[in-house]
């Protein structure tokens, strides 16, 4: 006869076994995704003696694989996205990607820090998962990093990064709105500004 003392652990084991393979935990999946993606990114981008062009190429590949680029581009244009003409959208999206890739790739040029390790995750609104991680520095307190993970066709994709509370998308959206305001409310003005800025960043890199 099974006593109560034995029954409770048995129930726990059975429930535990049954629960595990049935429903995949999206928060856990998102953490695994960030750990794996972060690891591969650091490996590819901090390789010694790669040229600037190669660094940008590698970053672009990773960016398109791991990030929801079209979502980020639209969100960065914010309220002005719906009113952009098809032609403006067609110009803006690749320009935006080029701008972001050029900036972020540059961050890895002399990167000697470590990879990213997910600490925890939670489900946010709109079905996104927020993954929390720290970048430990030898000089001062750790830097807090949050990854907002969405889902594109069943695959996890990064939608936004928040560094110490500063969101990548919000920062671009504020900048772009300002640029449009400074240029008589014209999206074409922003496109010109992006084109000029990216060209000058490329020139400085090369």
């Amino acid at each position: 006869m099974i006593t109560r003392r034995l029954l409770i652990p048995i129930v726990f084991v059975v429930v535990g076994l049954a629960g595990r393979p049935a429903a995949a935990d999206p928060a856990q999946d998102a953490q695994t995704f960030i750990n794996d993606f972060g690891h591969r990114a650091i490996e590819a981008l901090t390789e010694k003696n790669i040229s600037d062009a190669e660094l940008i190429k590698r970053f672009k590949t990773l960016f398109e694989e791991g990030f929801d680029v079209s979502y980020i581009a639209r969100s960065a244009l914010g309220r002005f996205w719906p009113r952009a003409t098809d032609d403006e959208k067609a110009q803006y999206v690749p320009l935006f990607e080029d701008y972001v890739v050029t900036i972020y790739a540059g961050q890895f040029r002399d990167y000697t820090g470590q990879g990213v390790t997910a600490k925890s995750a939670q489900v946010g609104t709109d079905g996104v998962i927020i993954v929390f991680s720290d970048i430990v520095s030898s000089d001062g307190p750790p830097t807090k990093l949050e990854w907002i993970i969405g889902n594109v066709d069943g695959k996890p994709k990064i939608r936004d990064i928040k560094i110490e509370g500063v969101s990548m998308i919000t920062t671009y959206r504020d900048q772009f709105a300002n640029e449009i305001l400074q240029r008589d409310g014209k999206i074409a003005g922003l496109i010109n500004a992006l084109r000029e800025k990216t060209a000058s960043l490329h020139a400085n890199n090369g």
């Binding site: 540059g106 307190p141 907002i148 939608r159 110490e164 504020d174 300002n178």
Partner: protein, 286 residues
């Protein structure tokens, strides 16, 4: 009691002078003209920067002062003073600042953080030799900052319009009041004023400023190099950082930047403003 009046008077005089300068600047600069287009107007209101022409002028002045004075000093400081010594000075300055942090912890009813600050002050002043070593940080009492601007925010005071202060940089009426209040409640400042060494308050503030600037040399260079408009980027970063600081760095669930995607674009409703922006949205003028 009588002795305490001196710093009040001094600070009142100083703020009076600053108000006068600000008033003069306003008279010859004027305000920005809001756009008429509804989307542009919404973006204009979101920027919450009606004094932009004046702010940009002060920002330009600050950039000038930074290029020719503050940045070179910070660079020289990094070049000349070895890293451990710089860490010690930072620890020392942080420790001196503890009473103000402690007071603001209490005013925000953050009793655990207040205890943390008090413990740090005790451990670092004694074992850490007058605050030169952050022993408390090593034993699980990490440093956190707190100021009266944040306290006001916790009390529900809105930030008000964006404001660039001469030398001090990005701010708003709420945080500017906070800076004065913090200076006013600092026991060391009160002591110095009462012993007629008030100038040392400014010396300390200057050293603090150089130390802070020295920590962001590369970061600021990078932002300046890559942004479309340095002024607008700093405005955005300042706001976002303040909201994070006011929340004590706690992640606010569901904080995702609003997507603004139209329904036909992705078949989803545009996300409403996240909780992280609620602080700035509550804002009314002071």
């Amino acid at each position: 009691m009588n002795r305490l009046r001196f710093p009040c008077l001094r600070i009142a005089l100083n703020s009076g002078r600053i108000a006068l300068i600000a008033g003069l600047m306003l008279t010859f600069q004027g305000c920005a003209t809001p756009p008429t287009d509804p989307d542009a107007l919404a973006a204009y209101n979101e920027a919450n920067d009606p004094l932009e022409p004046m702010n940009r002028q002060i920002f330009a002045f600050n950039e000038f002062a930074d290029t020719y004075l503050i940045r070179p000093l910070a660079e020289g400081y990094v070049a000349v003073v070895p890293t451990p010594a710089r860490h010690s000075l930072r620890n020392f300055l942080n420790n001196l600042h503890s009473p103000v942090i402690f007071a603001n912890d209490l005013l925000q009813a953050e009793f655990q953080r207040a205890g943390n600050t008090l413990g740090r002050m005790f451990v670092n002043t004694t074992v850490g030799i007058g605050g030169l070593f952050d022993v408390a940080g090593d034993i699980g009492l990490p440093y956190h900052d707190e100021d009266f601007g944040q306290t006001l925010a916790v009390w529900g005071v809105g930030e008000g319009p964006y404001l660039v202060l001469p030398v001090l940089g990005p701010s708003n009426p709420r945080d500017a009041v906070g800076i004065f209040a913090d200076g006013f409640m600092d026991p060391l400042n009160i002591y110095l004023e009462n012993t007629r060494r008030g100038y040392l308050t400014y010396v300390r503030a200057a050293i603090d400023g150089i130390d802070k600037r020295s920590q962001v040399l590369d970061v600021l260079d990078d932002i300046k190099r890559t942004s479309l408009d340095f002024y607008a980027t700093i405005r955005s970063l300042y706001r976002q950082r303040r909201i994070d600081e006011i929340n004590n760095g706690e992640p606010t669930p569901g904080t995702v930047a609003p997507s603004y995607m139209s329904e036909k674009d992705k078949g989803v409703k545009p996300a409403t403003s996240p909780a992280s922006e609620s602080v700035s949205e509550k804002s009314s003028s002071l």
